[in-house]
């Protein structure tokens, strides 16, 4: 049976989600998405700058991708709800990443306001993926509020520090029945693979790809790593031991005498 990630009515094969911020130019976004074969992509919403002739980011996202509106810039639930509704009015679907951040230094999310926005938007029919500080009780509340997945952070946004929240994410993976997606802080493909080996359902990466010397090659590397980690999770069955366990036979050594 094919291994797919199901969220709302979508069946997603590629478990690397990609954020479209910070790319040197928009054409790179298309190249990155083609190289990675990613199927879920985030975009943000901002006031139009009338003096800028900037092209539409949507023109660079392949039609087969699911667009997730990021509510970045929201400082409370009401602002997040407003951004989500505006994004939906654009006509690109109803997937929303709730990101409510009152803190500018670490960009850590406000879980309580995130829950409030999730409650409202899920009732309105949005597929809601809340970005959160990893916390089992809050994750359970978000499930109850109708979230389509939960997205705990690995480390502060754009920090490239890796899965610093590993133990808390592991608990969420063990206890939460909807998809758990690590979002933010992942800097290297090996860290993305580690998330997947842990049992996470997907990884969302932006900065590590967008700001790489070669974003297209890095997107390919992340995609391979996520797939490898997922395959390992599904197939390993290995035990971790304190002491060694020889891989080669312990008989028939040259020194042996009969």
């Amino acid at each position: 049976m094919e291994d797919v990630l199901k969220i709302a009515d979508k069946s997603i094969k590629n478990r690397l989600f990609i954020g479209t911020g910070k790319f040197a130019n928009k054409a790179l976004v298309r190249e990155v998405l083609e190289a990675s074969q990613s199927e879920v992509v985030t975009v943000a919403l901002r006031r139009v700058d009338a003096d800028s002739s900037d092209e539409n980011i949507l023109d660079y996202i392949p039609d087969n991708c699911t667009i997730m509106i990021n509510t970045s810039g929201a400082r409370d639930a009401d602002e997040a709800i407003r951004i989500a509704r505006l994004g939906k009015a654009m006509g690109c679907g109803n997937w929303v990443k709730i990101e409510v951040i009152p803190d500018n230094k670490y960009l850590l999310p406000d879980n309580t306001e995130t829950l409030r926005a999730t409650e409202v938007l899920a009732k309105e029919g949005f597929t809601v993926l809340p970005y959160m500080s990893p916390d089992l009780s809050m994750a359970r509340r978000l499930v109850g509020a109708g979230a389509g997945a939960v997205m705990p952070l690995g480390a502060p946004i754009g920090s490239n520090r890796g899965l610093k929240t590993k133990e808390l994410v592991r608990i969420m993976v063990n206890e939460i029945d909807i998809p758990v997606i690590v979002d933010a802080g992942i800097g290297w493909p090996s860290e993305a693979a580690a998330c997947m080996e842990l049992g996470c359902d997907a990884v969302l990466v932006n900065t590590a790809i967008a700001t790489a010397d070669n974003p297209v090659a890095m997107a390919g590397a992340f995609s391979c790593a996520v797939a490898a980690g997922r395959t390992a999770y599904l197939n390993s069955g290995i035990a971790v031991n304190e002491s060694a366990n020889s891989s080669s036979p312990l008989t028939g050594f040259l020194r042996d005498t009969k």
């Binding site: 985030t42 975009v43 980011i57 932006n206």
Partner: protein, 66 residues
């Protein structure tokens, strides 16, 4: 007429409706979403929104974001 567009007061040529304003500002219709006095107005309804002095208008579009 004076409108409050994206948080700033702007003196623009008199526009009968929202669609006219978008055309005057040469914005790409398919790339934007508009709030008129804090209510989202769908594209097909722009021509029916009559503009009055000091109306508040938010014009937003998608940008790259994580």
């Amino acid at each position: 007429m004076i409108l409050r567009i994206n948080g700033e007061e702007e003196d623009v040529a008199k526009c009968a409706n929202l669609l006219e304003l978008i055309n005057v500002k040469r914005l790409k219709v398919e790339s934007i979403v508009i709030e008129h006095n804090h209510k989202i107005v769908l594209r097909e309804d722009w021509h029916g929104i009559i503009l009055n002095e000091r109306d508040s208008i938010e014009i937003v579009s998608f940008v790259g974001g994580g």
